[in-house]
Symmetry: C2
């Protein structure tokens, strides 16, 4: 793969969507697709799609289109989905439990190796076959297993101290469901935030202001 310098985040954020859609086509047995067809199905322009893929060297042939299988694999490679980044989940409440059971980590570059909670009502229970450990075990576990990513499904108040511990244990990548602003605290971290409340409030605005397109 030739190019690949500083790709803008808006391009990168479209890649998973391409990947999902191509996987879907593959499952349906589609072998080839033109950028025009792809654009119609995805609601983007064909030139946008070509531009996006050109950031990574470009695939497909003029007048022939893309080979679904191949393009899907290429995008999967660009995203790095064949990795098995060791991941721990902090917080085994409703949300943490849903994330642990709902996500197919192995297909998206990660491997969930441990689940932690500080509440005695949760530690010792099982989620998807994994025993929920007490957060007091975090240091021992991390020193041994060296996870590189942590999913935070705990309330904002609890994040600060856990984050300090995780950071000092070498964890620098976070999938953050809390409202704590991790990258303001530690600049050398990679953080993807999922702010469900923000999404819901945005929806509320949009329903309340139907003329604001």
């Amino acid at each position: 793969m030739p190019k690949r310098e500083n790709i803008s985040m808006s391009v990168i954020r479209r890649l998973p969507r391409y990947y999902r859609f191509l996987t879907h086509l593959k499952e349906k047995g589609v072998t080839r697709i033109s950028s025009t067809e792809l654009s119609v199905k995805l609601g983007l322009t064909a030139s946008q799609i070509r531009q996006d893929l050109n950031c990574f060297g470009g695939f497909g042939q003029q007048g022939y289109g893309y080979i679904v299988d191949q393009l899907c694999d290429e995008i999967g490679n660009i995203l790095g989905l064949s990795n098995r980044y060791k991941t721990i989940l902090i917080g085994a409440g409703n949300l943490g439990r849903a994330i642990a059971t709902h996500m197919q980590f192995e297909e998206e570059g990660f491997e969930l190796i441990g689940i932690f909670d500080s509440s005695p009502s949760k530690t010792g229970t099982r989620i998807n076959g994994k025993i929920v450990m007490d957060t007091t075990e975090l240091e021992d576990f991390c020193e041994k297993e060296k996870p590189v990513m942590a999913i935070l499904c705990i309330p904002r108040e609890g994040v600060h101290s856990i984050l300090e511990r995780l950071y000092s244990l070498g964890v620098r990548n976070f999938w953050n469901f809390s409202h704590y602003d991790i990258s303001m605290r530690y600049e050398d971290t990679v953080v993807e935030n999922v702010h469900l409340n923000d999404s819901l409030m945005t929806l509320c605005y949009r329903i309340s202001n139907p003329n604001n397109k």
Copy 2:
């Protein structure tokens, strides 16, 4: 509130963050804040914040700053959080269950009035005191209760038929956790997508490409 034409979505998406942060300040007893302080805490520039708020008529006074309580209320009003948009949740699996118990709908403009699932193992059970209804009851329920928003926590395959039913029952607003592209199917809908898989894959890319800032 004077202005308020077509505000760009990027401005709107920052409002919930302002709102959350101001609520947090309020809880801590902070009564006044300058746009500079606000900007430092939020990692934005002061001029960005002033510009954003000016879209809605502007608040605060030069040299005095913002009254936390007042600005918080104003942003809440802009977002429309005092609404009680009647909402139903489709899908009482792990994710749906987490959403139903985790979110504080009443504080964010919504009221969860019904939960539906098609699986006999789920219907009849309770989530947060609410009985999970069978999706066969959807028509009766919607004709009587007239929900305006539906949360979709079902797999992509199941969305198409449920969506057609909801649309014909007058539901036009969706908080969509599935991978089905609702706005491609019905243009006159308001859809907020939460694509957890996309977020995880984006994180995978960013971990795999640490030089791509």
